[in-house]
């Protein structure tokens, strides 16, 4: 009884990466490090929880030999299951369903009993074993993981209406009006045979249309490839809703879920991933200052809460880090530096007495002495039990930059004694003044 997991990682052609700018300008979004590991690696490692998963397949448009491909290759032999990258070559993208269909033979090899499908931008306390149990109890059906958001946020997601037996009665992607606050969490457990037979019928209809277009001679190659694009959400979930083959398993409210669309969400997600280290691999985190013996207190920097520091980073003993801080490789943190709720990427340098709060400091950035880099917390509204972090808009209706994390692209340098508050700075800028609530091109 084997299972497979497929992670849809998208690629350059996908629109989704753009909201992760300026960081995705330098690195594929799936490789963005949260809590010291690429986002996609967190998803791969979730599969370690289920012994029955024999293979993890990543489907996307990143070129062979690129950083993403190299990263996947580097994982070979690391896990009890195989990890492979399957590249879509279609320049328009095959869509979430089309990509799966294109690689159906690879997926169906060894005849898996079920296939997990993860959207790469989901950070979650994946309840994979619960999903298998649920799936086994509903023969020949598909399971969507559902979660709740507030009414306003529901318009940005796939909305689900269920009956008391958890069957999906109705599914609609990003509705304009309110349909349901139960939404598609971007994690599925699908029955392979039924799924592919459904997609095949969609594909065949599309192919017939394509032939008609071509025979009429009024079609370009782009349109042909476009009809090949099949959406998992529109062409599968929305179609089979109400057919008694689609069920929702709702993620319990105490389990973490967030979509990581903007770099600001990464800080929120990082808090969860660091927490999982605390539970499962506490040795990966830096010991808290209060945990160490008093005689050792001069030995290292002051650490509060969950903090991950790469072994090659140099952190002065007078610095204070945490909670929720990740420090990348070869980072230099000088004396008297404060970092809280932030991600500092490889090679960055924080000069003495600088202060970094709710920010992502990009690769090889330099923050001058006594400078302050500050973003706004992106936490969901604590008073709204259904709220999730806002992940979509960067601007309000009047065009002002919404409060969010401050993001410094690669190689940005900030002069001493300056401040960046709620800013997004594109790569390689040298800033010698204070900026607030701006995108700095």
């Amino acid at each position: 009884m084997s299972y497979k997991a497929i992670i849809l990682i998208g690629g350059q052609q996908h629109q989704h990466g753009s909201i992760f700018r300026p960081l995705s300008l330098d690195l594929p979004t799936p490789l963005f490090p949260v809590a010291g590991r690429p986002l996609v690696q967190h998803q791969i490692e979730v599969c370690l929880k289920v012994q029955a998963i024999t293979e993890v397949l990543l489907i996307g448009c990143y070129n062979r030999g690129d950083t993403l491909d190299q990263f996947i290759t580097s994982l070979q032999g690391k896990y009890p299951f195989k990890v492979r990258y399957l590249q879509e070559y279609n320049p328009m993208g095959l869509g979430t369903g089309g990509g799966l269909y294109h690689f159906r033979d690879q997926i169906l090899a060894t005849d898996p009993r079920g296939m997990f499908v993860f959207n790469c931008d989901v950070c979650c306390d994946f309840p994979l074993r619960d999903m298998i149990e649920f799936y086994e109890s509903k023969p020949n059906s598909h399971v969507i993981l559902g979660t709740t958001v507030n009414e306003k946020q529901s318009h940005h997601y796939g909305c689900i209406v269920t009956d008391p037996s958890h069957q999906v009665r109705h599914y609609v992607e990003k509705p304009e009006t309110f349909v349901s606050n139960l939404i598609n969490a971007g994690i599925y457990l699908l029955s392979p045979a039924d799924f592919f037979s459904h997609i095949r019928s969609v594909y065949n209809i599309r192919a017939m249309h394509t032939i008609e277009y071509m025979n009429n001679g009024d079609s370009t190659m782009d349109e042909v490839t476009h009809v090949e694009s099949i959406s998992l959400e529109h062409d599968f979930l929305a179609k089979i809703a109400g057919s008694a083959r689609l069920y929702v398993m709702e993620l319990s409210r105490d389990r973490f879920w967030s979509q990581i669309k903007t770099a600001g969400c990464a800080i929120y997600a990082s808090r969860f991933y660091l927490y999982t280290y605390r539970v499962s691999y506490p040795e990966m985190l830096s010991p808290n200052s209060s945990d160490t013996l008093q005689s050792d207190s001069n030995m290292g920097p002051c650490i509060t809460g969950n903090v991950w520091i790469h072994s090659s980073a140099k952190v002065d003993t007078s610095a204070h880090l945490g909670p929720n801080v990740s420090i990348g490789a070869n980072v230099v943190i000088a004396s008297g530096v404060r970092v809280r709720e932030s991600i500092v990427l490889d090679g960055a340098r924080l000069e003495r007495h600088s202060c970094v709060l709710y920010s992502v400091v990009g690769w090889n950035c330099r923050v001058g002495a006594w400078s302050r880099v500050e973003g706004m917390p992106n936490d969901p509204d604590a008073d709204d039990p259904h709220a999730r972090p806002n992940a979509d808009a960067l601007f309000d209706s009047e065009g002002r930059l919404l409060p969010s994390s401050t993001i410094l692209g690669q190689g940005v340098s900030l002069a001493p004694e300056k401040m960046l508050l709620n800013c997004i700075v594109l790569p390689h800028k040298s800033l010698s003044a204070t900026y607030k609530h701006q995108i700095i091109l």
């Binding site: 007078s318 204070h320 004396s335 008297g336 530096v337 404060r338 809280r340 003495r352 007495h353 202060c355 709060l357 002495a369 006594w370 302050r372 500050e374 004694e417 401040m419 508050l421 607030k436």
Partner: protein
């Protein structure tokens, strides 16, 4: 010789500092503003200073007694029961001012400069007129009352807030008068600038003494800090030994010997640190005054602020753009304050990213 200092009211423009301390006692470069003036007057032989004041303050009277004794002069209070304008207080204080033929100095209490009283006195004696106004050059005369005078200093005209440029010399708020002026002033609210001076000018009794020194009316926080910079700058010329020197200091810095500074601080340029102030390691302060007994914790950054008495600022705090912290204000760690005016005894637990008054 005698001098009248127009202390006036509550100093609302310098709140929140003046909620804890009468304005004349608020320290400017570690010395009450008023004492800068009284000491300068004492140096040119003034033996009796009268403070024209519209409120009662035990604290002020007690403090003044100390200086009275120290300087060996007489200091009297002339209380107004109602606002008397800028001339009325002379009439109220008439009983103190009359009696000898020596000219009297009259000063606005918020003015800070080199106080060239000796030159003023000789200029006054030479021209023989009834009064002399100190004038000073400013960059933006349109904000002030401009004084027009001839080559001998005889004043021809006053123009209040001129829209078109006529002159860049303005009334600096410091005067010297013969006692005869008292005959011109009735016991009622009167403006010396609008009601007395024009008449005297018409009678060719009023002259202008042009002062080359720096000058600032320090009655509000922004000008207080500008005045502080000018004062420290002039101290470098006149009495450089008063300025602090050392590895931690950049530019003109005045630090009271009782202040304790940590390692790796960067203090200056243009900083005044008062007595019993404690500044922890790695603090960076520029263009600011830290008043008596305040405590600034490690790694904080302070620019263009007045930190009130006994205020406590946490670690990694950033304060800028004319923040004024009242007495005993507490600012928690890692906050950002931009142009915040904080009333005494408040505890600040959230950043203030835009200028605000915190009640």
């Amino acid at each position: 010789m005698k001098a009248l200092i127009l202390v006036g009211g509550f100093g609302t423009r310098l709140r929140p500092l003046t909620l804890s301390m009468p304005k004349p006692l608020v320290e400017f470069a570690n010395k009450p503003i008023l004492i800068h003036q009284i000491e300068a007057l004492t140096e040119v032989g003034v033996k009796h200073v009268i403070l024209a004041i519209s409120y009662m303050s035990d604290l002020l009277e007690k403090e003044i007694k100390v200086h009275e004794k120290r300087l060996g002069i007489q200091i009297s209070f002339s209380h107004e029961t109602e606002p008397m304008g800028t001339a009325g207080p002379l009439a109220v204080a008439r009983k103190y001012l009359e009696g000898d033929d020596q000219p009297i100095f009259v000063l606005n209490s918020d003015v800070i400069c080199n106080f060239p009283f000796k030159q003023l006195l000789s200029f006054h004696k030479v021209h023989g007129g009834e009064g002399t106004i100190v004038v000073t050059k400013v960059e933006e005369p349109s904000k002030y009352g401009v004084v027009l005078y001839d080559d001998n200093g005889k004043i021809e005209k006053f123009v209040e807030k001129p829209k078109e440029f006529v002159s860049n010399k303005i009334n600096a708020g410091m005067y010297i008068f013969n006692t005869k002026i008292l005959n011109r002033i009735e016991l009622k609210p009167t403006s010396i600038e609008r009601e007395i001076f024009p008449v005297m000018a018409k009678e060719s009794q009023l002259f202008a003494y042009n002062m080359d020194s720096y000058w600032m009316d320090v009655g509000q926080p922004r000008d207080y800090l500008t005045g502080m910079c000018l004062y420290l700058n002039s101290l470098r010329e006149s009495d450089p030994d008063q300025l602090s020197r050392g590895q931690l200091y950049t530019g003109d810095v005045l630090v009271d010997p009782s202040a304790i500074l940590g390692e790796g601080c960067h203090i200056g340029p243009n900083v005044v640190v008062g007595p019993d102030v404690k500044i922890d390691d790695g603090v960076c302060i520029s263009r600011s005054t830290v008043l008596k007994g305040a405590h600034i914790k490690s790694h904080s950054w302070v620019n263009s602020c007045v930190v009130g008495w006994k205020a406590r600022i946490g670690q990694w705090v950033r304060m800028e753009n004319i923040c004024v912290l009242g007495e005993d204000v507490r600012v928690m760690d890692e906050l950002y304050l931009n142009g915040a005016l904080i009333l005494p005894h408040k505890t600040i637990t959230e950043s203030i990213p835009e200028p605000h008054i915190i009640m």
